[in-house]
Structures are given as structure tokens and as C-alpha cells.
Symmetry: C2
């Protein structure tokens, strides 16, 4: 499982790398297909492994958990979030900064259809929702120092205020994406986000 450098053209150097990439894609596609066909909870690792033509053990070596089989590297979201916001000039306010971060993360999705499919799966499966919310909470904690730095330290607990602002931004993203899914992907999520935030901030 050593990570080898790839050639500039994107074609992997060794046969092993090529095989790995192939297996990875095969597993991911099989998983997503089965998930949408029969639901996440109703799909077992054994079934995915069987239909993808690998052993369970190997499948777990490629993707550590069942959730990871959803693809769309959720772990990258956190990185993009913090990167985007930390690269913003210091004058940019907290709300604007968070909006930029949210927009950057949403821009990561390949296509509207894929995003809708994943969102739908996420919103309709309790176990997935739980895992996602947990991951998101960690992103929020990572954002804490960045947002604190941009807030004018007036009275009271700065930590609490920063946390509240961050959590509110995510809350609005939540409300927006849930409404978006309910409407079958009609409209733009960022518009909904803005609408939500405007409502909250009166």
C-alpha cells in the first residue's frame, strides 16, 4: 500500500498501481450502485466484495469503513474549508469568510446529479447522517481558531461566540441542502443558503 508517484500524464508507473486504481474504482462504483439500488443499510460488505470481485479483507484495505464507500472524499472537505478561509485577507468578516468556505466545499462535487444522489442517500439514511454530522462537527472545531481570530474580542466568551457563528453557518447549509433535496435539486444551494442566513440574521 505504499503510495507511488504517478507520471505527469496520469498513467500510473507500475502495474500494481494500475491494478489498484482499477480495483478501487470497481469497488466504489459497485458500492454506490448497490446503495442506491437497495439502500445503504440493506447492502452488506460481503455483497459489495462479491460483486466487485475482491475479498472482504481487501475491500477493507482499500476503504477502512463502510461509510468511506460513499466516495466523495469527505475528509477533503475539512481541508478545503480551512484552506479557503485561512487564505482570505484579514479584513474579510466572519460571515463572508464562512460563506466562501461553504461555496468552496460545494464546488467540489463533480456534477449536480452526483451531488443530489449523495445528498439524498445521506439525508435518508440515519446511520450515514450520524457519521456525517460527526465529521462535520470536527470541521467546526478545526475552524474555531480561524474564526476566533477574525472576531472582535468584545465582551463575553469569544469561544462561545465563534462556535455559535460557525455552527449557525453549518446549520444554514444544512437547512439549505435539506430543502434542496426535498425539491429534487431545483435551484441553487447557495441561494438557499443566503436566504436561510438572511432569515436568521433578521
Amino acid at each position: 500500500m505504499k503510495q507511488e508517484a504517478e507520471t505527469a500524464s496520469g498513467a500510473p508507473a507500475t502495474l500494481w498501481d494500475r491494478a489498484r486504481q482499477l480495483a478501487s474504482r470497481e469497488i466504489l462504483e459497485t458500492a454506490l450502485r448497490l446503495f442506491t439500488e437497495q439502500g445503504y443499510d440493506e447492502t452488506t460488505i460481503a455483497q459489495i466484495a462479491r460483486e466487485a470481485g475482491v475479498s472482504q479483507r481487501t475491500l477493507f484495505r482499500y476503504f477502512g469503513t463502510k461509510e468511506d464507500l460513499l466516495g466523495g472524499n469527505q475528509d477533503r472537505f475539512g481541508q478545503v474549508l480551512t484552506d479557503t478561509i485561512s487564505e482570505l485577507p484579514a479584513e474579510v468578516g466572519v460571515w463572508e469568510a464562512l460563506r466562501a468556505g461553504v461555496a468552496a466545499v460545494l464546488a467540489l462535487h463533480d456534477s449536480r446529479e452526483q451531488a443530489l444522489e449523495r445528498f439524498r442517500l445521506l439525508h435518508n439514511t440515519a446511520s450515514l447522517r450520524a457519521g456525517w454530522l460527526e465529521k462535520r462537527l470536527r470541521f467546526q472545531e478545526d475552524l474555531l481558531p480561524l474564526i476566533e481570530a477574525r472576531m472582535d474580542a468584545a465582551t463575553g466568551s469569544v469561544g462561545a461566540k465563534a462556535r455559535a457563528v460557525i455552527a449557525t453557518a453549518f446549520a444554514c447549509l444544512d437547512a439549505a441542502s435539506m430543502t434542496w433535496v426535498d425539491n429534487d435539486g431545483k435551484g441553487d444551494i447557495m441561494d438557499l443558503y443566503d436566504e436561510c442566513l438572511a432569515t436568521v440574521r433578521g
Copy 2:
């Protein structure tokens, strides 16, 4: 497992009920003790059952899942929330209504110490956090119609706006309780909540 009526004095009618109540308390206390002693993930059901003097099977009959062993009937929270808010007069605004709901839920805790202990466990254990957030999301959905009814249906998506308001209230509760735990339970959560909300709503 039939639920028998209890006498007015609180003393259960039959011997069975008494034994059940005893066993239930014993299990709950053992679980909470072990959780705080050695952590939630590091405590196995087998260990709790052994130390509580019941079989695993029986333990699972009393409490369906490991999370339920945390006690503090989280399922009741949702009921209290919706009840409190739906009993409020129609003139009460959404923010005020949600504040009342939050206050009512917080008032459910037996003592400050117990609440702090549970909150600490919750905030420090990823798996617990995930489950809790998921449950909370369901509460939010339950609240949706109640809050929608209190909002002036202006332009845009009422659903999105209501969701945003609810999610924001919970976000502030989150920020408040996390800060509260970080400060080892100093101060009042509702004060922190108000501070968070004030910051968000500018």
C-alpha cells in the same frame, strides 16, 4: 415486559415490577460508572452485564442499545420540546418559542453535576456525539411544522427558513453547552445560549 400501573405512592404493585426497577437502576448505575471510569468505547456490554449481575440478553431487553445506557431518556427530550412549544400562545415569536423549548429540556436534568458528567462524556466520545446529533436532527424535523406555523409566510421557501431558524437555535445550544463543558460547568447554560444567539443575530 408488560408495563404495569404503579400505585400512587410510587411503590410498584407486584414483585416483578420492583425487581425490574431495581435491575434497571443497577444496570444504569454500573454502566455510567464504567463509562466515566474507563471511557465509553472501552467499556463492553459484556462487562456491564457481568458487573451488574445480569445476562447480556437481559441487559439488551432493558436497554435496546448501548447508547441508551447513558440514561437521561434522550427520547423524552423531543416530546418535551414539542409539547412546550405547542402549548405556547400563537403570538409568541419563533425565537422566543425555541428559547422556551431549550430551557424546558435543560430543566430536565437532575443536577448540575449529573448534567456536566453526561455532557462531558457526550462531547468527548465520537460515537456518542454522532448518535446524539442524529437524534437531535430528528427533533428538529419534528419541530418543523410547529415553527413553520409561527412564521410569517413572506417570500421564498418557508420550509428552508423554518429549518434554518430551528437549526440555528440548536447550533447556539451546541456552542453554549460545549463552552459550558470547556469551562467545567461554570456559569449558566442559558446565559451562554442568549449570548450566542445575540452574537449570531447581530
